[in-house]
Symmetry: C2
Subunit: 201 residues, 2 copies
């Protein structure tokens, strides 16, 4: 076997733009950040459905599919929280390089971890969505009962209660789900995202 002779041009892996061409879309990373209970999952799931209905293929990464798989061997120690975001970003990069519209819904509480994600995925690929629902509303919702546990001390270092959340300094969009209906927020997201992913033919 002599690859060089048999596959003179074809011995390189297909590129992202080859795949974007096949899929008829441009890839991007949509990174949802915000407190627990702010509405990141709800908005990202709804956005994926709307994009899917328009023919866009997406991959949504969230705690459910990441913490149970690639990151199942990580704790919530400071070092592991950084490693958690690093791996999420590296996985996201692989999806973006495949031409896929990729979304992540993770608290990602500090400018440092969001900058880490952005630097791995590439700033030019990165759309930052700040789900800015006030903590009082998130605590009232307390869908998973986590705020209650954080206040009782059962959960240590819980973002917003016993661990800081840095507001993003320059998000592409901020959405407060206590002030807007899901459908309205998703409409704003579509207006932001579609120009970045649609492929002129």
């Amino acid at each position: 076997m002599d690859n060089k002779e048999i596959y003179p041009v074809f011995d390189k892996m297909l590129s992202r733009s080859d795949k974007e061409e096949l899929l008829g879309q441009k890839a991007v990373m949509i990174w949802f950040t915000g407190l627990s209970g702010s509405g990141k999952s709800t908005l990202s799931i709804a956005l994926e459905r709307e994009l899917f209905a328009r023919g866009y293929i997406c991959r949504l990464l969230d705690g459910d599919n990441i913490r149970s798989g690639i990151n199942k061997n990580l704790t919530f120690s400071p070092a592991d929280r950084i490693e958690n975001i690093r791996r999420i970003a590296e996985v996201s990069k692989l999806f973006v390089e495949s031409g896929i519209v990729t979304m992540g819904a993770f608290i990602s509480p500090t400018n440092d971890v969001r900058d880490l994600a952005k630097s791995i995925i590439g700033e030019e690929n990165f759309i930052e969505v700040y789900v800015s629902t006030p903590i009082s509303v998130c605590e009232d919702r307390d869908i998973k009962g986590l705020y209650k546990k954080a206040h009782s001390g059962e959960l240590k270092e819980f973002t917003g209660v016993s661990s800081p959340f840095d507001e993003p300094m320059n998000p592409d969009i901020s959405l407060d789900t206590s002030k807007r209906e899901v459908a309205e927020s998703v409409e704003l997201l579509l207006q932001l995202v579609i120009p970045r992913i649609e492929k002129k033919r």
Copy 2:
């Protein structure tokens, strides 16, 4: 915001079959195993090109995009070699669940690590391709100069020289690239893979 009321059916993430429908293909994992220099990368790259030409969207994972990214913080210690394969398998699972035809080209030298990958990705999704080129041919090629380093002792625990390679017990196909041209091997792979990924309309 009350998700339950606003999105009564739409608050669940899209499924693999939704995505397979959109992409017009069925997802599968094609796992290439074999010695360094056996031709795993060459065959997988060529297979991806042929599938792409037929309209299938694929993701090829290999040492270049994995060791420089998600697995850059792993060494070649026994524990890290297992973690290397575990992470590759978890990433592959995320791609397969997105409806993507996923390929991995990794030495993956033991039945244990291949079984680990298979158990994570799911046996029903797993096509095992054994690139069975004899070690004498791989050593003669020595494209990366690794066998020379392994024999001089510069590289420790090198598969096939100072570390074992278990032949797969029941691969879906075995291909010896010293006996077949790339094009012929790829043709056999297409005959194996296409019935698994084509979507009847």
